[in-house]
């Protein structure tokens, strides 16, 4: 343990006071106290005492969901877990969590911590926080403002993971599976599915060629983007062998995992493949952490994906689904579009994907929509797409490029007006796909969709 300096003690005291003040004022104290502490004592994270076991979760997509799953299962089994769930996933957020989880003298009050770590913040956090387990869900393209491209993020994380951290990595992801090759690692994967392909149908595939000889890779199967199992036909490069191989059975809603020569079966908490990856990630971590399959099974039976990201409700026979589609993130949106495409029945879709912050005084950088697979919304079963928001003209052009007939497209500047344009004629499902920070507005839109369905029923009676 690093010796605590007077500067550290003072910064801990002041940041603790700030935290209590914020709480007294009813404010969220998840960021500022940590920011203040690091400002006053730059190696604050290095000096504050940490819990005995630390689990860090990073990656482009799914890290919040995976963190929540891990946290829920551990809590379910009596662990008192320090976490940054309520706040920020950058260094200030982690510092705030540690302040909240320590005594006034800086001693850790809890024995286990689960931290979600922003990928770009890795180099500000890992020099001070030595995780016992470091999980990376996947690495994909993300916001071009911050994350640029996967190679940039890969280099940051790979150069930051402490050498002693036991990595939990996705063997189906040829990018993140190569992180920090010297570290101890456990790989997970999902075995070949009937729906797998031999060629990528997504716009983005950031692993088209062998990193060693630049030959085009061959795929035993490809699931989406660069997720799958590949090999180079001319050199020895290939997907790494997996330690936890998951076989999915959507009919019985179960997943059977083969690990260390034994099979274990768990309930599937979601029917979507990307959330299933999140679940397998959490299971692998929890098994390596030391929980038994019975413990994990019992907890997973009670789990649901957080309501703010997904909800489903049926009104007069029409299912209304809200689904977060993280704007500026082409992979997350493509996965959601693919999910909508694969859902059965006649569908209508409301898009509300504008960046809520760029609306205020700037103009959203729209490059990402040309990386996202809007082509998945070009389906005979989707008979109307209502595009809402100030960028609706951009989305309309993108959907036309995707082959969607213009007759199916309706634009409206205000999201709340979108339900007015539903046809509800033979519609079995209405999907409301909303940006991360538009969850509350999506709920208002959902209420209006419910009203529209009720009104239509009343007028038909």
């Amino acid at each position: 343990m690093k010796k605590k300096t007077l500067r550290f003690q003072l910064s801990l005291l002041i940041s603790n006071l700030a935290m209590h003040m914020q709480k007294l004022l009813g404010m969220n104290a998840s960021y500022f106290p940590g920011k203040l502490a690091i400002k006053l004592c730059p190696d604050f994270l290095g000096q504050i005492e940490k819990p005995e076991t630390i689990i860090c979760v990073t990656g482009t997509n799914g890290k919040t969901t995976v963190c929540n799953m891990i946290l829920d299962v551990l809590t379910d089994h009596g662990y008192d877990v320090l976490n940054n769930k309520a706040g920020s996933n950058i260094n200030a957020g982690v510092a705030s969590s540690l302040i909240a989880g320590s005594t006034i003298t800086g001693k850790a009050k809890k024995k286990v911590a689960v931290f979600e770590i922003d990928e770009r913040s890795s180099k500000l956090i890992y020099p001070y926080i030595q995780p016992d387990f470091a999980v990376c869900t996947n690495l994909f393209r993300d916001s071009i403002h911050r994350n640029a491209h996967p190679e940039f993020i890969f280099n940051i994380i790979s150069g930051s993971f402490p050498k002693n951290a036991h990595l939990i990595l996705n063997a189906d992801d040829l990018i993140s599976s190569a992180l920090s090759p010297e570290n101890k690692r456990t790989y997970f994967s999902i075995a070949k599915l009937d729906s797998d392909l031999k060629e990528c149908i997504n716009i983005i595939n950031d692993m088209q060629t062998c990193p060693n000889c630049h030959e085009t890779l061959s795929w035993n199967y490809i699931r989406y983007h660069h997720i799958g199992n590949a090999y180079c036909p001319t050199c020895s490069f290939a997907s790494p062998p997996s330690d936890y191989i998951a076989s999915l059975d959507f009919s019985s809603h179960t997943v059977t995992i083969l690990a260390y020569g034994k099979e274990e079966t768990y309930p599937l908490v979601s029917s979507s493949i990307f959330n299933t990856y999140n679940e397998i990630t959490a299971i692998t971590l929890l098994r390596e952490f030391g929980l038994t399959k019975e413990q994990i099974f019992a907890s997973l039976k009670k789990l649901n994906i957080v309501e703010s990201r997904y909800s489903s409700e049926t009104v007069n026979g029409i299912e209304i689904v809200t689904h977060m589609a993280k704007g500026q993130n082409p992979i997350a949106c493509s996965c959601v579009f693919d999910y909508v495409r694969q859902e059965s029945g006649q569908k209508e879709v409301i898009l509300m994907l504008d960046d809520v912050f760029d609306r205020d005084g700037s103009s959203e950088i729209m490059t990402w929509i040309y990386d996202a697979d809007f082509e998945f919304l070009n389906s005979e079963l989707i008979h109307r797409i209502i595009i809402s928001g100030v960028r609706s003209a951009d989305y309309k052009f993108r959907l036309l490029m995707a082959g969607v007939p213009e007759s199916k497209l309706i634009c409206t500047q205000k999201e709340i007006d979108a339900p007015n344009h539903l046809s509800l004629n033979g519609t079995e499902k209405v999907f409301i796909l909303h940006e991360l920070y538009a969850a509350e507005e999506a709920m208002r839109v959902k209420d209006k969709v419910k009203e529209a369905i009720q009104n239509r029923r009343n007028s038909n009676v």
Binding site: E151, I204, I365, T367, Y370, D371, K396, L400
Partner: protein
């Protein structure tokens, strides 16, 4: 009119920020065009036959180095293509591969094709994001920039367009990109031709089509006008 051939260089790498939509859109606008995708291990088509246009999009920093190595053997043919008025469009940091060199933060240099007198400097610790408004031959251009590097040196005699708002080749520069004959290079990403339908018409004319008709013209013009209106608002933040 001779066959229109558009060669896309190294699309397995040079495809960041949705910029391949430049080509997909050209393909919709010129359905008769033959689009040739050349991979890193392939011999470029422009070395074997006449092509109407050569396109390359943004890529990672490591991939820039691979691309420079792949193109160096064909430097003379590339010079000839530029001299013979072949249309070139290089977007994002693809443009840097044609410059003198790319300098890393530690001062080390990756020598480029040296077809333009400018050079690029990387700063991987600072991401530069901005909107840009400019003017080229009476066409008002809009665009986005998202990059780690800027180019420096004198592009006064070879700039692509004048900057009305935002930054050009480097912060403070009012001259964006590189231009020589029918060669156009710009840091603007996300696809430049989709953002600028009037320039797209100009580019298609350069390929020999006298009265081009744009695909989804009314929709793309509506999106362009909307963005232009925003970008011309003096209150709009560009950074």
């Amino acid at each position: 009119m001779s066959e229109i051939k558009i060669e896309v260089l190294y699309s397995e790498y040079a495809n960041l920020f949705g910029d391949l939509m430049n080509i997909h859109y050209l393909g919709k606008c010129i359905p008769q065009a033959r689009i040739i995708y050349t991979g890193l291990n392939d011999i470029p088509a422009f070395t074997k036959e006449t092509v109407s246009m050569i396109y390359m999009g943004p890529m990672t920093e490591h991939q820039q180095e691979l691309v420079i190595q792949a193109l160096l053997p064909y430097k003379e043919q590339i010079q000839n293509c530029i001299a013979n008025n072949t249309v070139f469009l290089l977007t994002g940091n693809a443009m840097e591969t044609f410059e003198a060199y790319i300098e890393n933060e530690n001062g080390s240099r990756i020598m480029g094709l040296n077809l333009f007198p400018t050079y690029a400097k990387r700063d991987m610790f600072h991401r530069y994001n901005s909107l840009i408004l400019g003017e080229y031959q009476g066409i008002t251009l809009v665009g986005f920039k998202a990059q780690f590097s800027h180019s420096y040196g004198d592009n006064y005699h070879c700039y692509f367009y004048k900057v009305l708002r935002g930054d050009g080749l480097y912060p403070g520069s009012q001259l964006e990109g590189l231009h020589k004959n029918n060669f156009f290079g710009t840091y603007t990403v996300g696809p430049f031709l989709v953002e600028n339908p009037l320039f797209t018409k100009h580019l298609i004319k350069l390929m020999g089509i006298s009265n081009p008709v744009l695909a989804f013209e009314s929709s793309i013009m509506e999106a362009y006008r909307k963005r232009l209106e925003e970008f011309q608002n003096p209150k709009l933040r560009f950074h």
